[in-house]
């Protein structure tokens, strides 16, 4: 639990309104991280404990013990509840991002995502093999940012290396996404070589694995990615993204040659996702592909994104191999919802809290659908999602006695 010091309380009184989210951030940061032991359990062990195919006989119809008078039981009847464990024919691919010196890169550590053998956080069934990972957005030029976000990054906008460092050191990012917006022919039309210079600076500034993001122009992105692959082989970047209207063969080949991983992006359509993955399988292995099925913001199609992802994950586990890839979510899209940033009536303020909570809600919903990699923006949202994934992946048990008395809590 957090102890907000008297000093903080005083500060809060001085800075009503706009500074609220700073306080929240501080409070969140002070959160005593509970050390979680790695939850390592062999899946095979579990399968021995829980025989498959139990769903049909979850609660055996037992003879009811206990006396019954006039149809009314006099003492509690006893019925067992057996966890409804299922088995799935397929496993989600495991993808490793970032390469250390030992593996030909310069990163301090690498991260592995995917590998699921059960739906998201069905830990009663099987543990999650890897914790979902968070990568923070860094842009190589000024972009429109909501006020709630801008207040946290205003000092580093325009300096990607400093921004990346802030994201890792202060905001706790597992990874950094370097968005090369400036290469857009309709913006600065920066050259692939310029983009590589930016990446070089970021590689120097932080030692986490990187996602390399393009500008959205299929031709220019291909040229930029090709140069990035030539300049930085072996770093095991995640190249974001390869889309259906790019030269898929060409991209897959140069990305493969440099040893990077591919983000396969499709616009909210599982058939298109299958098709693009199928095309990629001709050149790369499953362990090289993360898929992005498109994230819509809470209130702006999140339901559609959620169901798409949940279906993809269930499909992948059930044997739809073209969907058995780890999933990435552009959770930053939450900020496309005007309710995340717009000044609304007083009853909905402060937006400095509403906004990041909008991103948290979007992220958590998709976390429960099976997303493995979150591309995020607001530091408080990142902190919360990190805590939630740590808790959900942890082996600690609930303590019912602690909460038994909620009815009498004098809140």
């Amino acid at each position: 639990m957090i102890a907000t010091s008297q000093n903080d309380n005083d500060k809060k009184k001085d800075n009503e309104g706009l500074k609220l989210s700073d306080d929240l951030l501080e409070a969140l940061a002070k959160f005593q991280q509970i050390e979680l032991e790695d939850f390592q359990m062999d899946v095979k062990d579990l399968e021995i404990i829980f025989e498959p195919g139990m769903a049909g006989q979850i609660m055996p119809k037992l003879k009811l013990p206990g006396a019954v008078a006039g149809g009314k039981p006099l003492s509690m009847l006893q019925i067992p509840f057996l966890p409804p464990i299922e088995t799935y024919p397929n496993k989600i691919a495991e993808v490793t991002l970032g390469a250390t010196r030992k593996d030909g890169g310069t990163r301090g550590k690498s991260l592995t995502i995917g590998g699921e053998v059960s739906p998201a956080f069905y830990t009663f069934e099987r543990p999650m093999p890897h914790k979902p990972v968070i990568t923070l957005d860094v842009f190589d030029m000024e972009v429109p940012l909501s006020k709630a976000v801008k207040m946290h990054v205003k000092d580093v906008v325009g300096d990607p290396a400093a921004w990346a460092k802030l994201a890792v050191d202060k905001f706790g990012a597992d990874m950094v996404t370097m968005h090369l917006i400036s290469v857009d022919p309709l913006l600065k039309d920066a050259s692939p070589k310029d983009a590589c210079k930016t990446i070089e600076k970021v590689l120097q500034a932080v030692d986490v694995p990187l996602v390399i993001g393009g500008c959205g122009d299929p031709v220019k992105d291909t040229a930029v990615f090709e140069e990035v692959c030539a300049q930085f082989p072996g770093e095991r970047f995640l190249i974001s993204s390869v889309t259906r209207d790019m030269d898929v063969e060409k991209c897959a080949k140069f990305i493969k040659k440099a040893g990077h991983a591919i983000l396969s992006f499709t616009p909210m359509d599982l058939n298109l996702a299958r098709e693009l993955n199928r095309r990629l399988y001709d050149y790369v292995v499953k362990e090289d592909i993360v898929m992005d099925l498109t994230t819509a913001a809470l209130g702006y199609g999140l339901d559609y994104a959620f169901t798409n992802m949940e279906r993809a994950r269930m499909g992948g586990l059930m044997g739809d191999t073209e969907l058995a890839q780890p999933m990435s979510s552009g959770t930053t899209n939450a900020w496309a919802a005007r309710e995340a940033w717009l000044k609304m009536g007083a009853e909905w303020e402060p937006r400095e809290l509403r906004g990041p909570l909008w991103e948290v809600t979007t992220a958590i919903t998709l976390l429960l659908a099976g997303v493995d990699l979150f591309m995020m923006m607001h530091p408080a949202a990142v902190k919360t999602l990190k805590d939630v994934t740590n808790y959900l992946s942890g082996a600690k048990k609930a303590d019912p006695s602690k909460y038994a008395n909620w009815v009498k809590v004098k809140a």
């Binding site: 809060k12 769903a55 509690m76 509840f81 209130g299 429960l368 919360t384 019912p400 909460y403 809590v409």
Partner: protein, 474 residues
């Protein structure tokens, strides 16, 4: 996955239903004939009770047969009485993509018997007045949870009385003491509140109260599902008709147990056809306030809000919350609306020309995508400001502006085609189109292909009125 289903959704055919219908094609239900009605029943588009002849005594047997056939995997329970009564549960499926979820998670906001009368009334009114207009829906809160913190039956009785005089919203009476619960029920004997809760020690007395006052009863067994289903079985056998399950809600290190318990119960109900698991589930995000200590209130509200969202995604049918700030409740209630929409319904609207107010040949022309949410947002900003304008809805296969541009669903070709197809050229004298700020990347191409002059408008449609005042000249 083994998908065993009782009265399973997918196994039902219209013929099966038709067999037990009156087959007189009376059209009283508003449908042309009984077969068409049977199809609507299978698709869960109408309620069985809208077949009036079926409700006659001579058809009681058929009615019972149909009721059993159509029984949802999770029982439906009604809390409260009158217009504001709330149905909870009634779920047919586990996963949203299988079928539209029924009965959106009811959200209750608490009051206690140690709050001042003024505070109680203010909280109840704030709960009742919570509204947010969202794409043609009004988001609202549903219930008042009354907690006994005083352990004083008289105080509890007084606050239940006060709440029931102040609002018609259904109530949840929260106390583990049967004597206090009874005092509360006496203050609102016909209100059919949800009674919280029976546990392994007080169950008999609570069961008697639930039966005497004909109200639904929560069976509570935190983090112990064997005791929970045993309790449910015991109460059911005892004669309690409507039971809601409380598997316990825990924050932080308790999150995995919370999520696992809700998921296991819902899977046992929907995939295993288990009657004892097939009851509405109660979640209590307000446990975030337990042991709060010196934690800042805003942080507790923040945690409570995301816990509520997790429980909405993972199968809770009713939630009890303490925080009532708009910033925290808005994401939660919007998520609830999102999750409970029809997954089959296209998220797109028909493309074409929309006319607002009484535009003339000098009025502004704008375009947006046919993604439903984008369209409704833009439309509402134009309508609520009573603007006279033309809006061309471009076919983007349901993509929003930014994702449409990125995913090449919103292209200059499509915009140019839409301008031509809309017939706008015969309606206005000028040739200027205001495009969404987020589509600025394709402004040059649009000019080239359409021959219209492009004005890059605001990034958000809320700024359209201001933009038109400052910038629009035909």
């Amino acid at each position: 996955m083994a998908e065993k289903k009782k009265g399973g959704l997918k196994e039902l055919s219209p013929i099966t239903i038709y067999k037990s219908l009156p087959k007189i094609n009376c059209k009283e239900c508003g449908v042309d004939n009984c077969m068409a009605f049977a199809t609507k029943i299978v698709n869960r588009e109408v309620e069985l009770d809208s077949c009036k002849p079926l409700l006659k005594p001579e058809n009681a047997k058929s009615y019972a047969v149909l009721k059993e056939l159509l029984k949802p995997a999770v029982k439906e329970v009604i809390v409260g009485v009158g217009d504001k009564a709330k149905k909870i549960g009634g779920k047919l499926v586990m996963y949203r993509h299988e079928f539209t979820y029924k009965n959106p998670t009811a959200i209750a906001i608490d009051v206690t018997d140690e709050m001042t009368e003024q505070e109680v009334v203010a909280r109840v009114q704030k709960t009742e007045n919570f509204t947010f207009e969202y794409i043609g829906n009004t988001l609202k809160l549903d219930m008042i949870a009354i907690r006994c913190t005083s352990e004083d039956a008289d105080k509890f009785k007084a606050v239940v009385k006060k709440v029931s005089e102040t609002t018609k919203l259904p109530m949840i009476l929260c106390t583990l003491s049967p004597a206090i619960a009874e005092a509360g029920l006496m203050a609102a004997p016909k209100a059919r509140p949800l009674l919280y809760a029976a546990n392994s020690t007080n169950w008999k007395d609570m069961a008697e109260l639930a039966m005497m006052y004909d109200c639904p009863l929560v069976a509570s067994s935190p983090n112990d599902l064997t005791t929970l289903v045993s309790l449910a079985k015991t109460l059911m056998t005892y004669g309690v008709k409507d039971i809601v399950l409380d598997p316990g809600t825990f924050i932080n290190e308790g999150l995995p147990d919370t999520i696992n318990n809700f998921t296991m119960l819902r899977r046992a109900a929907t995939k295993g056809g288990e009657e004892l698991a097939g009851l509405p589930l109660l979640g209590v995000p307000m446990v975030a306030w337990v042991d709060k200590g010196e934690t800042a209130d805003d942080l507790v509200k923040w945690r409570e809000a995301y816990l509520a969202s997790m429980l909405i995604v993972r199968y809770a049918d009713v939630l009890i919350m303490h925080g009532n700030d708009g910033w925290a409740l808005l994401p939660t209630t919007v998520l609830r609306q999102n999750i409970y929409t029809d997954p089959r319904k296209p998220v797109a609207v028909a493309p074409g020309l929309k006319v607002y107010g009484t535009p003339d040949e000098n009025s502004p022309v704008m375009f947006t995508t046919n993604f439903a949410l984008t369209y409704y947002t833009v439309a509402s900003d134009i309508e609520s400001n009573k603007l006279n304008a033309y809006l061309i809805v471009v076919e983007t296969e349901g993509s929003a502006i930014d994702s449409g541009v990125a995913g090449r669903k919103l292209t200059a070709e499509r915009v140019a085609d839409a301008i031509k197809a809309s017939g706008i050229e015969s309606k206005v004298k000028h040739r200027k189109i205001i495009i969404p700020g987020k589509a600025s990347r394709i402004s040059g191409e649009i000019e080239e292909l359409s021959g219209w002059k492009v004005l890059v408008g605001p990034r958000d449609s809320s700024e359209i009125p201001k933009y038109l005042i400052e910038k629009w000249q035909p």
